[in-house]
Symmetry: C2
Subunit: 337 residues, 2 copies
């Protein structure tokens, strides 16, 4: 059976039955003209949206529908994390090509549902439309942030320390493995790890929540989606500052090192402009930066101090592994066109 | 110049400069990971989303980009009206085909901007992605409704009176004119009116706002997007009731009558299952229904009482122009697949 054999409302009812997590703040969910939500007291509302398009952002031959559902949510959750917020509810728009098997949508919803249960938000509505050729999905995700406690990109000041969670470049290398016409050298298990980092990224909500609770007074934050240098550039531009990055402090995985070595691949383009890392990049006053890395590590949350903010607006200096100073602006990020 | 010659961020900056209306409730707009919004006191938040896809929902050969931008907003605003809410802020996702001229997007944004100024909401963010073949747009629209004062579909009770705003079938006939391979008979001006009703529908926000202020105690409401009978069916199903509709009370325009007559077209399919009317369909207790039509007319807002709610769950009876009773369930609505 194809999706076109199911009616629109039957399809919606089928998908709706998949969704389990519904918070008590939701007064009206799927099945009305709008969903209705009761905000908590003393919060600001935050909202983001991200779309993924078949053949542009994913290839249905290499990613399972469950993982695609999870990833669709993860890229949006990552934006909520970058504001220091808590995800609350989502609207999902599906552009369904008529020949897509309904089983695909079933599994896709299972993936979204897993994310909703894991991160405690509710899927409360959306739209299901026909797309003539390619499947696409758009998620609008709403969350709450404590009044005057949310992060933005524009507050970095000279002297601030720069931090990043997790490790960089894994996702870009995972994608390279998937897209490589011939098999890459190196252990299969290591390659699978890198592919998983691309297909199943971790939104850094826990880390963001810790920064808010710990009152770390983040001066600027962004999630690394288009590559470290590109996203750092956004902070620098909006804050009117520059940065110095210590290359040997930038966190990378052993898996990345292993596969790069086995295939004679350059690490730097992956690490600096790979994209889709979905790690949290943020800045703090130096006095608030003390012991932060060890506090994070105690909670099993990887964090690295990778540089500091300077006063040279827009300038990115890169102190390389051999102590040279380079201009970091040669590293471009992902351009959607 | 094609869109693909512009970078992503250049495109976003260009589009952003088009947007003017920003309310004081918006604390952070386009240019961060999320937008930030300060809700008013004692409100519930309502949210909806609707996507339009090239060749499925519109044909770029027959609608101007400005009107398409306005219509994209109108279909979402209509959902806010159906809840008795006030629109506040929108996230816009564009799926841009690489060959689309940037001038198209400029004009499309002008159209969205006109709607935002007219109806007092702000466009605060979104996503811009590449779409391999067809242009698409998704709008997630958030609004506020007074606590316990919003409308839903599930409260209609036997004896309630059924109302609809405006006139029905114009939009479907407008579409028929656009899609007809040969020119239809009848005055060009009349045909243009009907096309405008299809391409530039009026979201019934003012009417919904009046119902809330007037404390009309709406028991159920929906916007007519898939056809009168189909949308009425949603109210009946969720409320567990039936309905009787008086055909000669269903409001239609003189323009529709004129073009139907000139071309020997049946009016009933247009009126009962045409779709895209974006009129407000709602029910009230009979004691609250008194004088409502004349109160609306005094304010220049067209309203008609078209029937009443019965206890026969799911049953739609149609009292025809010649006094016969028919089964109304033969009228189907729009199915997206």
């Amino acid at each position: 059976m194809k999706t076109k054999d199911l009616g629109e409302f039957e399809l919606i009812a089928k998908l709706q039955s998949k969704l389990k997590h519904q918070s008590s703040q939701i007064l009206k969910s799927i099945g009305d003209d709008c969903s209705v939500f009761k905000p908590n007291k003393d919060v600001h509302l935050i909202a983001t949206c991200d779309a993924l398009v078949e053949t542009v952002h994913f290839d249905l031959k290499t990613i399972s529908p469950e993982l695609l559902g999870q990833k669709t949510m993860a890229v949006n959750l990552s934006d909520i994390a970058a504001m220091g917020g808590i995800p609350k509810f989502a609207l999902v728009t599906l552009g369904v090509s008529p020949n897509l098997p309904p089983k695909f949508l079933d599994k896709f919803y299972s993936g979204m549902n897993m994310a909703s249960e894991k991160y405690g938000f509710s899927i409360v509505g959306g739209d299901t439309v026909r797309s003539p050729k390619h499947f696409f999905v758009n998620v609008a995700l709403m969350g709450e942030a404590q009044k005057n406690c949310w992060f933005s990109r524009d507050g970095a000041k000279p002297g601030d320390k720069i931090f990043v969670t997790g490790s960089l470049g894994d996702s870009a290398l995972g994608l390279k493995i998937l897209q490589s016409p011939k098999k890459l050298n190196g252990p299969l298990k290591t390659q699978k790890y890198l592919i998983a980092r691309h297909q199943n990224p971790t939104p850094r909500l826990e880390e963001a929540c810790f920064l808010v609770k710990f009152d770390a007074q983040v001066t600027a934050a962004i999630d690394v989606s288009d590559g470290l240098i590109q996203d750092l550039r956004h902070i620098l531009k909006t804050s009117g500052v520059g940065a110095k990055i210590y290359e040997n402090s930038v966190p990378t995985s052993l898996e990345l090192a292993k596969i790069c070595k086995a295939n004679n691949l350059a690490k730097r383009p992956l690490i600096f402009s790979g994209g889709e890392d979905y790690e949290l990049l943020f800045t703090l006053r130096p006095e608030n930066a003390k012991n932060l890395v060890s506090r994070f590590f105690k909670r099993g949350m990887p964090l690295a101090e990778i540089g500091e903010i300077t006063s040279q607006t827009g300038k990115i200096l890169l102190e390389t592994n051999n102590g040279k100073i380079e201009d970091g602006s040669c590293f471009k990020g992902y351009n959607h066109f």
